[in-house]
């Protein structure tokens, strides 16, 4: 589904990604973990084509991608309903219903027709999530999807993403919240200084996953 071959990206003298290769197979659910500045967001932007790599190549094997950016600035004057309708039309999913997408993500019905600028942070986050999920894209990419969500919202999202995964979606998720990654993903990639430091394969119901990931983060990434 995703093939990144020896990609590098520099911002001036700063190395954001350093000859990194990553393969994500169809139907996989992969987590990206790392401290700030590790290169996670840059990697996602390269995968989506928002940035061009200095060297290497990125290949995507999917007609459409559902993406939720980290800082979700959205069209402020539009209602969530109109916004989700845009996602459905762009992804050629006219048969789907925007209202159903918003119900699925748990956005209060009263907020559906309000301009997005009037929504709380959590509601905006839910709207952005609904935008990514709308249209049943085969590849879903999330950059910090849990920030701004309350505990219930996080559990609901994990549940929702697990469902999508079971339906065959490939998911790449970048998060600082280790227990969520441990619960949701099959593989976590620990990044630091633009490189893959370590890969963790997680099994379903792996009770020690969180500890392993946290200790990996502390020992490998914090030393960078």
């Amino acid at each position: 589904m995703i093939r990144c071959e020896e990609i590098s990206k520099h911002y001036g003298a700063t190395v954001a990604l350093n000859v990194l290769s990553l393969h994500v197979a169809n139907g996989e659910i992969v987590g990206l973990l790392g401290i700030n500045g590790a290169g996670k967001s840059t990697l996602i932007k390269l995968i989506l084509g928002f940035l061009q790599p200095d060297t290497g190549s990125v290949t995507l094997d999917t007609p459409s991608v559902g993406y939720m950016p980290e800082i979700a600035s959205m069209p402020e004057t539009i209602s969530p309903l109109a916004f989700i309708n845009l996602a459905l039309r762009l992804r050629q999913a006219d048969n789907q219903n925007a209202a159903a997408c918003l119900t699925e993500i748990g956005l209060n019905k009263q907020a559906w027709n309000k301009p997005i600028r009037q929504l709380s942070k959590g509601m905006r986050q839910r709207t952005a999530l609904a935008f990514a999920l709308a249209g049943d894209s085969r590849l879903l990419i999330f950059d910090e999807p849990m920030s701004g969500l309350d505990a219930l919202g996080r559990l609901h999202l994990i549940d929702l993403l697990s469902q999508r995964h079971q339906q065959g979606a490939t998911i790449l998720i970048c998060s600082h919240i280790v227990p969520d990654l441990a619960r949701l993903t099959q593989r976590v990639i620990l990044m630091g200084q633009g490189q893959i430091l370590e890969e963790f394969k997680l099994l379903q119901g792996d009770s020690g996953a969180t500890e392993r990931l946290e200790s990996g983060l502390l020992t490998r990434a914090a030393n960078q």
Binding site: L48, G49, F50, P63, P69, S73, T77, A82, L90
Partner: protein, 270 residues
């Protein structure tokens, strides 16, 4: 094509939701009153003065619309990364640029349609109540020409604004460069025409200066719409060829700007 139209329709909804857009519509609706009040300061060709105010209003509204609304939209899209929602596969970057442009054009057209209603209302009142001296040469075509020429010139400037925004980073930079472009487009063509007129009349002016002035004028759209409207206001007929040349010139300029904007935007980092 479907994606372009989808983004365009969304852009229309988005722009119409801006408070500044609604304010511009309100000002446009009130402009005929301002034109009427201003014309009372003059003596004879009152209806022509009213139309002149509407012409000024059309050009100024166009510039304000671009700077306050279109630049804000693109600034938020690119500077605050709202475009991340539009641009993941399968959306091509050119679809995004063309959709945003088309949507902005539709809102501008709505604004000018409202203006045109005001212009035609003023013309109708003049034809009903003014003496022939006060409304010499005025007819409904003059009103159409006001909307037509101002629309073309603003679209050209919009093309340039899209080019600037495709390259600049952040609202502040976009606003500064777009304002500069609007200023230059407003100020330079008449100066160039004036300088060229003088150099043509003066045999001592070197051929290279004349060529430089000619060359420089290629960077600007044809801003002679004001002369065309003025002629129509006085009932002077302008050949259809000149009007079509004016329209095609602007369409060509806009296409050029937009083509460059797409090339730059397709290559830039977001």
């Amino acid at each position: 094509m479907k994606n372009i139209l989808t983004i365009a329709a969304f852009t229309v909804r988005e722009l119409l939701g801006f408070r500044v857009t609604r304010t511009l519509f309100a000002i446009t609706a009130l402009l005929p009153l301002l034109a009427w009040a201003f014309s009372q300061l003059f003596m004879l060709e009152i209806a022509k003065v009213q139309l002149d105010v509407m012409v000024g209003g059309a050009y100024l509204l166009g510039v304000v619309f671009l700077l306050s609304t279109v630049v804000t939209l693109l600034g938020k899209d690119i500077g605050e990364q709202v475009c991340y929602f539009f641009l993941p596969p399968p959306i091509e970057r050119y679809s995004y640029v063309l959709g945003r442009f088309l949507g902005s054009v539709v809102v501008l057209t709505l604004l000018y349609t409202l203006l045109l209603v005001g212009v035609e209302l003023l013309i109708w009142i003049s034809l009903q109540y003014d003496t022939s001296i006060h409304r010499h040469g005025i007819n409904w075509i003059a009103g159409i020409m006001i909307g037509w020429t101002a629309w073309y010139q603003t679209i050209s400037l919009m093309g340039a604004v899209f080019l600037i925004c495709a390259w600049a980073t952040g609202v502040a930079e976009m606003l500064v460069f777009s304002s500069s472009a609007a200023f230059i487009y407003w100020v330079f063509p008449p100066i160039l025409a004036g300088m060229k007129g003088r150099s043509d009349a003066d045999p001592l002016v070197s051929e290279s200066l004349k060529q430089s002035l000619d060359g420089l004028s290629w960077f600007f759209p044809d801003m002679t719409g004001g002369s065309i409207v003025l002629a129509f206001e006085h009932g002077i007929s302008i050949s259809n060829i000149v009007i079509m040349q004016h329209a095609l010139g602007h369409l060509g300029y806009t296409a050029l700007m937009l083509g460059l904007a797409i090339i730059i935007f397709s290559k830039r980092s977001l």
